[in-house]
């Protein structure tokens, strides 16, 4: 079962029917690193947290889909132009919504994602402390 979905995700990496594939070479910075290693590292870290919109279940750093390549080009050129990674993320979120970013920000819709682990932590401490007390 798990396999089927991994596969399905893969199918999209290698982008479905051959007929519906463009033949244009990839965007300049789709498969080319920035010359400055520090900037490239920033770009790479960011790309790993952005969703490939074509493949739906992969980051743009792990996808051969042409659109992922175009997104990598955007990220690299913007970082090279001196933009902060979080600015680039915000630029994409402005266009595609929170869906495009794998890094949920604390907001009206996502606060439980952060509140529940805190509650779990409290609960964990509570359970352990109660065990401790009972032992005495």
């Amino acid at each position: 079962m798990s396999v089927r979905l991994i596969l399905a995700a893969l199918l999209l990496v290698f982008a479905g029917p051959v007929a519906a594939q463009d033949t244009l070479p990839p965007a300049p910075y789709a498969y080319r690193q920035l010359d400055d290693p520090a900037l490239e590292a920033k770009a790479q870290a960011l790309m790993e947290t952005l969703r490939c919109l074509k493949c739906q279940s992969q980051s743009i750093a792990d996808s051969d889909a042409p659109m992922a390549g175009d997104m990598r080009h955007q990220v690299r050129t913007r970082i090279a132009a001196g933009e902060d990674p979080e600015q680039v993320r915000a630029w994409l979120i402005e266009r595609y919504g929170d869906y495009v970013s794998y890094k949920p920000e604390i907001s009206a819709t996502t606060w439980p994602l952060f509140a529940i682990p805190v509650a779990l932590l409290a609960l964990a401490v509570l359970i352990i402390v109660r065990r401790l007390r009972k032992a005495k």
Binding site: L5, Y102, P117, A135
Partner: protein
């Protein structure tokens, strides 16, 4: 004929499961009922018939019988034989048949082997196993019949997804299945114990090897799946926090917690209710994972037709089994006495921390996986990925590792810090030394640095329990624990090193050109077309040299399959003890250049070596438990023989 035979065997085993449930239930209601004698034979026969049914499906795939719809849809006569067989479980219907087969086999095995439990608990366990099995039989027979005929027969099969045509992936799903479904035994034991209210150390000892067995398969399956994704995806990633991966991780987390709490129950008669709950939760996670993946409600991947009818069916089964078991737990758990007490500074105390931390991580993975589903209900779409799971999981994972390094040094029930002061100082010194060295000398980022420091601490800590003990007399399960914990350290070091030290190089290279990545220089020697049985490919010949040393050849391929038409990239890996060189050939670039992707990944293989060590540790523990059980059994037989020599006609030693 084979298909009809397989289907008939499947119906029969479903009927036997019904009989097993009924007889078990009636046997429980009126003790001493003659019906209860039917339960064990029914379970064993059911297992045999179900295995026959799966064998029939394998045979159909081996022969590429195109008059069977499932074969026609998922196989092709040109395919290599091993992948024809793998086609049997590389689809929905076949994998569900494998699911019920594993369930039936597990039930049959406990019916055949297990004689230590009180008969009532045994009846309840087997009845519960049959009850769960029945639902999946119904699912298979009503909505997913694998033996359906195709009239008229197809002239040729549609082929198997090329990505399934890989030996690692062919074996990965059955391994995971044995793990997922093996946990059904723990579930049934838990339900059985809840029904009869008999939760004892003996019960835990009976349950433990089954949990261990399933856990070993899960560990191997996840390790193999991660390695497969690593080399097949072609981008060097080995864990993506993808819902599908999370679906396999969650049962593993629960099973790992269960494994430790069942040991506490077996040795110390404590954590009774908690163990029972984990037994229920572990298999529930397997079922929820199956539901999430099969119903298609989670990933929005278009490639597979998703069937809401099947999703509904599984959901109803889930509600009955998980809801039922948890409700039973909620009602009954209060009537199970809590068990022995212990001090917090004790082996049990450390294991409680481990259990709580694992459960919390499980909760976080579940939350992160399902959260997008929740917000979708309010028309908001979010993505939860590595930037969430890694740091939030670490809140619990890192303290758990500290306890993992120290816990095995502690004695059961009560211990004093003074006794273990020396080893604890040793562990702390090693951990801090790595932390400081990594920070000051290598300048590693915080998360991988913490990982490396804890890996070193856990590595040292895992061997310290051997101190002052005779290695030859050391029981196998202790070896198992040492090796499994050391495996955690190895895997963790691999993850941290990969994160901290990976070097990436993307180039558009001309033939003859050399690229550098980390300590490697890689020359593109040639690019040639090659042909396989059902694909053609462009193959690059790369000559790689490590720090100017001898040349090694790598041959990554860009493959095109034609049934069905699809392109894949086959990465080429060069493994050294200290890492892997990873090479992928992409498309053709302008000016007769080729896109090459190269990675130098120091110590990345340690991730999977660690996984294998963890599984090996489990295997040693299992071996130790089983041989211990066998010894005990023969000793008991001897005692019985001495007590009543007149009733034994043959020397007991021979029997034992």
């Amino acid at each position: 004929m084979i298909a009809e035979f397989g289907l008939a065997a499947l119906w029969l085993s479903a009927a036997l499961a019904g009989l097993q449930l009924l007889a078990g239930f009636l046997g429980l209601r009126q003790s001493g009922s003659e019906l209860s004698a039917l339960v064990r034979p029914a379970a064993v026969t059911q297992a045999l018939l179900c295995a026959l049914s799966f064998g029939a499906l394998l045979l159909l795939f081996a022969r590429t019988d195109l008059s069977v719809a499932l074969v026609a849809k998922n196989s092709h006569s040109d395919k290599p034989f091993i992948f024809k067989l793998a086609g049997a479980w590389g689809n929905h219907e076949g994998s569900m048949l494998l699911w019920v087969t594993v369930m039936a086999l597990a039930g049959g095995l406990i019916a055949f082997l297990e004689r230590r439990l009180p008969e009532r608990t045994m009846l309840a366990t087997l009845a519960s196993q049959a009850f769960v099995g029945l639902g999946f039989y119904a699912f298979l027979l009503i909505s997913s019949n694998p033996f359906e005929r195709l009239v008229p027969a197809a002239a040729e099969g549609a082929g198997l997804n090329p990505l399934l045509q890989d030996i690692g992936l062919a074996l990965h799903p059955p391994t995971l299945y044995f793990g997922y479904v093996g946990l059904s035994i723990a579930f049934s034991f838990a339900v059985g114990a809840l029904l009869t209210r008999q939760v004892t150390p003996d019960f835990a000892k009976v349950m433990r090897p089954w949990v261990l067995g399933a856990w070993i398969f899960l560990t191997l399956g996840i390790t193999a799946g991660s390695y497969w994704a690593y080399y097949e995806l072609g981008w060097g990633g080995w864990w993506f926090w993808d819902p599908v991966e999370n679906a396999s991780l969650m049962p593993w987390l629960a099973a790992t917690a269960l494994l430790h709490s069942v040991s506490v129950l077996a040795s110390r008669d404590a954590l009774r209710a908690w163990t029972i709950m984990l037994g229920v939760v572990a298999f529930s996670m397997s079922m929820i994972g199956t539901f999430l993946v099969r119903s298609g409600i989670l990933t929005s991947v278009h490639a597979f037709a998703v069937d809401p009818e099947r999703g509904t069916f599984i959901l109803v089964l889930l509600a009955i089994y998980i809801g039922g078991a948890l409700a039973l737990f909620a009602f009954r758990a209060g009537t199970i006495a809590e068990g022995e007490r212990f001090s917090v500074l004790s082996r049990e105390g450390a294991l409680v921390v481990n259990n709580v931390a694992l459960s919390a991580i499980l909760g976080i993975v579940l939350l992160g996986t399902l959260y997008p589903l929740l917000t979708e209900a309010f028309d908001v779409r979010v993505s939860v990925g590595p930037p969430y799971f890694n740091p939030v999981g670490a809140i619990f994972f890192l303290p758990m590792l500290v306890v993992l390094a120290i816990g095995p040094l502690l004695r059961w029930r009560r211990d004093s810090f003074a006794r273990i002061r020396l080893p604890v100082i040793a562990i702390a010194v090693v951990g801090s030394a790595v932390l400081l060295a990594g920070w000051l000398i290598a300048g590693i980022a915080l998360m991988p640095l913490l990982g490396m420091s804890l890996a070193a601490a856990v590595a040292v800590g895992s061997f310290l329990p051997l101190r002052g003990r005779s290695l030859r007399r050391l029981p196998l399960p202790v070896w198992g624990m040492v090796i499994a914990h050391f495996g955690i350290a190895v895997a963790l070091f691999g993850m941290a090193a990969d994160t901290a030290f990976t070097r990436e190089k993307l180039v558009a290279a001309q033939v003859g050109e050399t690229a550098r990545v980390g300590p490697w220089s890689v020359k593109l020697a040639s690019v040639d077309p090659v042909a396989g049985p059902n694909w053609t490919a462009l193959e690059a010949r790369l000559l790689a040299s490590y720090r100017g040393g001898g040349e090694h050849e790598l041959k990554p391929q860009a493959r095109s399959f034609w049934t069905p038409p699809q392109q894949t990239s086959e990465s080429a890996l060069l493994t050294r003890w200290n890492g892997q060189l990873y090479a992928v050939i992409g498309g053709e670039a302008e000016g007769g250049r080729w896109q090459l992707r190269l990675w130098w990944k120091p110590f990345v293989t340690w991730i999977w070596y660690g996984g294998v060590l963890i599984a090996l540790g489990g295997f040693l523990a299992l071996l130790g438990r089983l041989s211990g059980d066998l010894r005990r059994r023969s000793a008991q037989a001897k005692i019985a023989a001495r007590r009543a020599p007149e009733t034994v006609s043959e020397p007991v030693e021979v029997v034992a």
